[in-house]
């Protein structure tokens, strides 16, 4: 075998190994999700079957029908939960991102006393698990009287998302060369205009990705929400999943159906923004 052929074989071999590794990794990531979707469409008997039924025999919308049905017959206030989740997630994301833009910009552009200490402090807050916070937060919220309100949960999520948003957005503003804003100021902008007309649009893609992170964190959060919400007035979808558990049984099919409803908006949002992320910006204003 000549050396060229050897190289070629090795190249193909590596490529194959690469694909195989990717396939295994993707399977591990995607299979649980697929299983959830699959389970939402098949009868409980099949879900519970041992050994597992890999190829479903019959698919139906029974679980969805029941879920949207009357409360006594396995129904849950889906629309209500959905709206709660939506209001809480969107509001907290918008607030967190606005603060994140201001904070991230300040960290990226200005020097001030205690800057790195504050920055480390932000990161440390991220190290505390939500569950550990839930009891203290519950006590404080209970005293203030904002348990079981949208406001309470929004407050908690804003606090949770702000450090991470600042950290992410700081990174994106750092990539925007200072000279862009300076050029804009020389071109006649005020400091404020230079930010909104030049720096913000250039960092927009990064800010959008920070927004996705913040939204998904709020949308999927369970530990805090399960403690801070009590009733249909404020329960979010992850908490709503618990409605399918009763003392002795768990309605897996129903739970999966609700989970699917939960995944869909997150998927749609990610796709919309992702397209924007890729299509939009290539940093070309400076020497490439």
């Amino acid at each position: 075998m000549d050396i060229n052929q050897q190289h070629r074989f090795r190249k193909y071999g590596l490529k194959l190994a690469h694909f195989l590794a990717l396939f295994i990794a993707m399977s591990i990531i995607c299979l649980p999700g697929l299983w959830v979707v699959l389970n939402s469409f098949r009868p409980t008997v099949e879900i519970m079957a041992k050994p597992p039924v890999w190829i479903p025999e019959k698919l139906s919308l029974d679980h969805y029908r029941a879920m949207f049905g009357a409360v006594g017959e396995g129904g849950v206030p889906v629309v209500r939960y959905f709206m709660n989740s939506l209001v809480i997630s969107i509001t907290s994301t918008v607030i967190a991102i606005l603060i994140g833009i201001a904070g991230g910009y300040a960290f990226a552009r200005y020097r001030f006393r205690g800057k790195s200490a504050i920055f480390v402090g932000f990161m440390v807050t991220r190290a505390v698990p939500g569950v550990a916070l839930s009891l203290p937060l519950f006590i404080v919220f209970a005293k203030v009287g904002i348990i079981d309100t949208h406001f309470g949960l929004i407050l908690a999520y804003v606090a949770m998302n702000v450090p991470f948003s600042i950290w992410l957005i700081d990174g994106f503003f750092r990539q925007v060369p200072r000279e862009l804003a300076e050029a804009a100021e020389i071109d006649g902008c005020t400091r404020w205009q230079a930010f909104w007309k030049v720096e913000f649009p250039v960092a927009k893609a990064g800010i959008a990705s920070a927004a996705i992170f913040a939204f998904l964190t709020s949308w999927n959060e369970y530990a805090l929400a399960s403690q801070l919400t009590r009733s249909v007035f404020s329960k979010t979808m992850p908490v709503g999943l618990l409605d399918f558990t009763s003392e002795f049984t768990i309605n897996w099919g129903g739970m999966c159906a609700l989970a699917v409803l939960m995944i869909i908006p997150a998927l749609i949002l990610t796709f919309i923004v992702q397209k924007h992320l890729i299509s939009g910006l290539t940093f070309g204003g400076i020497k490439g």
Binding site: P177, L180, I186, D187, G188, V202, K204, G285, I286, K287
Partner: protein
């Protein structure tokens, strides 16, 4: 259309002073180049004129107006940045028209101004592209176009050519010079490249460590450098400098190995016997016999042992030793030179320089 005047401007960052009270008057339509090694304060000075850095003390006037406290947008200046700073999210046309759009000028006027700038810099075909889709030279032209669109009083250039390759740099240098002839505006140009400074400037301002070392026309600073720093900074190859002493009769310069050379006639009144000096001459004034220019009235001859030669086509730069120090000479109408060859060279003493060994200042 305006003059620029700096008086005693100082810039401090905390306790560190980087610009030490510079005075500089730039006439209307003048092309002034600030040149110096990196860290000499030239960019800081430019940024203070632009209003991007605050002055620690001193005054800047543009035209009749004191602009110390005016933000950049009110100074009617344009600036071309080293990295171009084009707005990546806008097309070339939007980049060019941005300043007019901010000023709320009517659409038709913006279009006309953009078209005009595009024509001057031949950007016509690129108007709908984004900066990311342009080559380095094209980005450079867009950056210049953005600057000329608003008809500023003063143009500021901050090392605009340093990101381009050598060939393109030479080409853009010519374009900048043509642009200045065409639009007739005061230009302040910062560079660390002495060739750019020499070729572009009406007046060169040589800076070091936050001070102005010398200013004058390119030929003035080339022919009469005020000190050893300017002598080595301006001109390529740099001026040869050799430590020496003035002989007891004040008629000769004695190099370190005792070689006597006549003191140039025009410098005879400026030296005293026994003085420590630095003897300077340019490679262009030390040439092998038969490969040089017409010499001046006063000459000296050397045998030069050649260590290295750099053929450049029209001339060859020769590296040799005089009094144990490496020096450079030039050979016109070159012939191949082999290493270790000894050439009889003639030094044009009438064009040589003497500097005081202590102050480094010119004695001429």
């Amino acid at each position: 259309m305006a003059s620029v005047s700096l008086s005693k401007i100082v810039k401090r960052y905390g306790k560190i002073e980087v610009v030490h009270g510079i005075d500089l008057d730039i006439a209307h339509n003048e092309f002034v180049v600030l040149v110096g090694p990196s860290g000499c304060g030239k960019s800081t000075t430019l940024r203070m004129i632009a209003g991007l850095e605050e002055l620690s003390s001193g005054d800047i006037h543009i035209g009749e107006q004191r602009v110390n406290d005016l933000p950049p947008r009110d100074r009617n200046i344009s600036m071309v940045f080293q990295n171009y700073a084009l707005y990546p999210h806008m097309t070339v046309a939007e980049n060019l028209g941005f300043s007019l759009k901010i000023a709320n000028r009517p659409e038709a006027e913006i279009d006309k101004a953009v078209a005009e700038a595009a024509e001057i810099l031949s950007l016509g075909e690129l108007l709908e592209r984004r900066p990311a889709e342009l080559s380095g030279g094209q980005r450079q032209r867009v950056a210049m176009g953005r600057a000329i669109v608003r008809h500023p009083d003063v143009f500021l250039f901050d090392e605009p050519l340093s990101n381009l390759d050598a060939k393109l740099r030479a080409q853009m240098r010519i374009e900048i010079k043509k642009l200045h002839q065409r639009i007739k505006t005061t230009i302040v140009y910062v560079t660390h490249d002495q060739v750019e400074a020499m070729t572009l400037a009406d007046r060169i301002v040589i800076m070091r460590d936050g001070h102005i070392e010398q200013q004058g026309t390119p030929l003035q600073v080339f022919e009469n450098p005020a000190n050893t720093f300017v002598a080595t900074f301006i001109g390529s190859p740099p001026m040869n400098l050799l430590p020496a002493t003035i002989s007891g009769d004040a008629r000769h310069i004695q190099l370190e190995d005792g070689t006597p050379l006549p003191v140039p006639e025009r410098l005879q009144s400026g030296v005293t016997a026994g003085q420590s000096v630095i003897f300077g001459f340019r490679a262009d004034n030390l040439m092998p016999e038969g490969h040089g220019l017409t010499l001046g009235s006063q000459t000296a001859s050397f045998d030069l042992l050649i260590n290295l030669s750099e053929p450049l086509g029209t001339e060859t730069v020769l590296f040799g030793e005089i009094a144990g120090r490496e020096i450079q000479a030039k050979m016109l109408n070159p012939r191949p030179v082999s290493m270790g060859e000894t050439l009889r060279c003639q030094l044009d003493m009438s064009r040589a320089h003497l500097f005081d060994a202590n102050t480094q200042l010119s004695l001429g």
